[in-house]
Symmetry: D2
Subunit: 334 residues, 4 copies
């Protein structure tokens, strides 16, 4: 249930109605939408409350049903797209933000070199893993905090934002100190403890789709974050697992228009993990731009074949520069 309050109510009037709802065993979460406050009822014995009764409250303009399980993430609650603004850079405003960088941060020199090149080619965000979720415990697990430090200086030196993954709930504040966007990887999409923790911090989160998650499960994972208070969420389609083995994953581009219909959060596409093959990154980026993605996350390496991880899908900075240009050309077509 979504309760739309009358225009320009005072903060104390809003508090009053939230308290009144509490006394009826209903937990309400407020959200500004234009000049109105919307209240989502996220918990409570809704079947015992009459719409009619609520609609008669003097502060209430109207009451809408909200049948979806995800409330704060739904378009019913917030019909306008969420635009996330970080240091002046907007995500979700109709443009296509370009996130680029190596799979893993391998050394200080490497991340500085790549940061300079992707910045020059048109990236706004530097990506790079410091804590790496590797299938085997014997594979390179990332440089940890040192990696984050190198990344921060590389990003700052090139006027880029920084994004990196957090895997351990105990590292959330550490990672948050260094990056502008915290990434939740596919394997942790339903790590509910981690999601709840990320809901309590004032940092944008990019939530990757699980390897076999449905749209609904993915949105419910976003709802975990939102229900703890953090509304700066991006969703990132990165391919699902199917029986096709030629590609690493099957990139499900339908996710973009479907999610943009169901939720107000921006939707990013990762064609690198989504295909696993270097030659497919450019064409898939164009397709993602054409279908309306709010951003692209691409693995770029100065020496792709020497990348410590995911070598087969990394592209050269020159290819990235070419992609940026064509993506921009596609984005302006009406």
């Amino acid at each position: 249930m979504i309760i739309i309050l009358k225009k320009n109510l005072s903060a104390s009037a809003v508090d009053t109605i939230v308290e009144k709802l509490k006394s009826m065993q209903l937990e309400a979460v407020p959200q500004w939408v234009d000049e109105h406050i919307h209240l989502a009822i996220v918990r409570g014995e809704m079947e015992q409350v009459s719409f009619h009764e609520l609609a008669k409250f003097p502060e209430v303009e109207k009451v809408l049903p909200c049948t979806s399980q995800f409330k704060l993430s739904s378009k019913t609650f917030k019909p306008t797209p969420t635009v996330i603004e970080i240091k002046g850079q907007k995500i979700g405003d109709g443009s296509c933000i370009m996130m680029a960088g190596p799979c893993s941060i391998e050394s200080e020199q490497q991340i500085h070199e790549i940061a300079a090149l992707v910045a020059k080619s048109g990236a706004q965000v530097l990506r790079g893993g410091a804590f790496k979720p590797r299938t085997s415990p014997y594979q390179f697990q990332g440089l940890g905090e040192a990696g984050l430090r190198y990344m921060r200086t590389a990003a700052d030196a090139n006027d880029l934002l920084a994004i990196s993954e957090v895997m351990d709930v105990r590292d959330v504040s550490l990672v948050g100190e260094y990056v502008d966007i915290i990434q939740v990887g596919a394997r942790n999409m339903q790590n509910f403890s981690l999601l709840k923790e990320l809901g309590t911090i004032p940092k944008p989160v990019m939530l990757k789709r699980g390897l076999c998650a449905t749209y609904m499960e993915w949105l419910m994972a976003a709802e975990y974050i939102a229900s703890c208070g953090n509304n700066n969420i991006m969703l990132c389609e990165r391919g699902i697992r199917t029986f096709e083995t030629y590609t690493r994953n099957t990139l499900d581009l339908a996710a973009v228009p479907v999610l943009k219909d169901l939720t107000h959060f921006p939707v990013i596409v990762d064609p690198s993990h989504g295909t696993g093959l270097r030659a497919l990154v450019a064409p898939m980026s164009y397709a993602a731009a054409a279908i309306g993605a709010d951003g692209l996350m691409i693995e770029v390496h100065t020496n792709p074949d020497q990348s410590i991880s995911d070598a087969k899908q990394a592209i050269h900075p020159k290819t990235f520069a070419k992609i940026v240009k064509k993506v921009q050309a596609i984005k302006v077509i009406e």
Copy 2:
């Protein structure tokens, strides 16, 4: 193994070498590529033949290994894209052919009305089912030959080509009389009897991907047709089955660049079956155009909700007209 013959050999010289190979228990299929004849060795005891020995034949320029199981369909055999020309209309030449029409041919009037509208909106090919593969034996099975007759006159009246599906090997010549392109549906992708029969007729064939076929199986199905003599083949990506139930299928756009790398046949995309949802047809068409599809097949109905079959995915002719325009704008971006 692919044997490239010297330039400008006479037909009888080619015959001579084919006979020589036959005496070595090797079956060769010839193909013109620029000024050369390429011979694909499709059957035989290849492990007992020395490359070296073959390379010494006076007619032979060079011998290439062909490790893929699909021979005639491979880029090794024919490196240049196959352009299929039907009544002056080209498919595979870099443009994006638009195939549109109802799921089922429902009546003479219906197909004429829709044909006129899609022609006006920019379609080159009229689609419509006369023999319908329905999950239930109690569902509408199509108008059969009468439907094909209505379709032919509707196509001719609007200067359109016609495409329709054949399901029964005994109907191949009948369907071939009425349409310009014969479609093999997803459920029949590995109906090998049907594929062999289609290999013997002088009609272009559009082969849809099976619901859970890999790229390799799909190309081997095309090879069944090609190995019987018909090289006018289009491949049509129409979505695969995954665990995601929000959409009818998961449209796998990576198929387009992958196939265009592996084979010389044109690749068409069907966003109607590929998503099953009307609202996704336009965005997915743009993505398909951006990723390099050679054509689109779209279900169009004057009264989409009243469509006898697949009502949820049919779009209105006006939406189709809008799609054609934006697809053309995307196609010209360098």
Copy 3:
């Protein structure tokens, strides 16, 4: 809708009511169940007919709704299991019929040798492919009619029934002359022309599940056969395609209890194709027996590694003999 007629009605009384229903635009299919005739209404404008009105007919005992799309295959129509009897051998009576033999019939000698061994080990049915659905047109396509002839004599010499696959609708009567059960392979599960043709002949049919068919689609495929008049149908679970690549397919044993709840047809399990690995055939056979399978179909070869097709999954006759014994022991546990 299922109409249960009163006990012991005369044939002419049944005809009368079928005609009466026809005049109401309802097509009815009769089936004996104990002393009653059940009529399934398979086509017609059911929403315009009142249950109440039909229940008042003097011949009618009661009228049941039948909400499932499959009518003749449903337990509502025929609550008792269908027992198929062929030359005295029963399938579906609670026992576990053992079908065994080579993937392909390779020669007269081979099929005779294997037939003798599997008969001795406890098989009741000889399997073997004469028309082979191969992914590649260049692979061995089977011995055709000669293979069927060898198989028939081998089966007769060892007092076995024979089962073999038909792929081409034009071969149905040919195959029917030689074998006792006609198999429809996974790739042809939705070859509706073939299913309809098999509905018109007096031979039991074993319908394999498609590689990515749901239970509902599979039952609707059976309904195609039943709706054309042939009720001697077995369903064969042979594994579905998943992302797991260690095994050839994922054998879905839940299919056995689910189907036995939804339909009256016997359910067979094929652990050879269902796993693709020799070492898994025995354990999976025991699991299938424990879950209630009405039969097992197993690939047996005297020299498994030399099998022309599917060598990795064929087992030796000695292993087969061991399986038969343990399967029988499991079957008798209450």
Copy 4:
């Protein structure tokens, strides 16, 4: 690489060789196998070490290659099955351990009541969730520590072991205080931080298969635990996600013989989550027993339809009692 040391070496001799390997940049993990110590080389520049050289060490009996990525979990390292013994109860010794209880611990009374009933019916382990991984943040999240306390007293009162899930790395020691086996749920199978933490505690762990994990990924997840020092690991097959929607998941019983061939850890089967349907729990349990499962985990509730979570798959204690009997009968068949 696995290094098998000579019989009955002293602890100091083993230390010496481990140190020697360390000086060669090789990290070795020891394991008793019969009278020998096996050393798995889990990290290091193996390509620069000669087998020959190692084989000449006086303490070494022989050196085996270990090509699999999972080392400590492999049969090469430890050819005999791992038998986990907890308070006298053995898991992995050829018997089939029965774990039963409610999906969620709902109250002190509920868990005591069910514990008594399942103990009487033949269970050895009490299951029940205190921390619940729920798709929605608004669903019941479990009773937390109070639930664990109720569970412990209920288990003790009925002479049962207790198993419960941990979701948060910060709760590992808390959960470990109350239960005998710690469960890692499907959604956390690749929560590598959690796995590493569980590797450091002296408690057996049951690792459920991820919803779309391959056998290899699952074994690598087990290797994360083992590589941190905890070898008391059970693997639990609980169904994978496929396109079939009739059942909640597709229970992949081939996992049992495959894993028992690749690893020495016991394999448990969960037919409740594996099918999601009450009617399938008993037949699937029989199949699991017949294929060689080392245990079953089953959701039992005194009032199945009133279960707070997973109501559709919970069975009544009477059904459970029946399952125990038939499972035991199947287990003794040779």
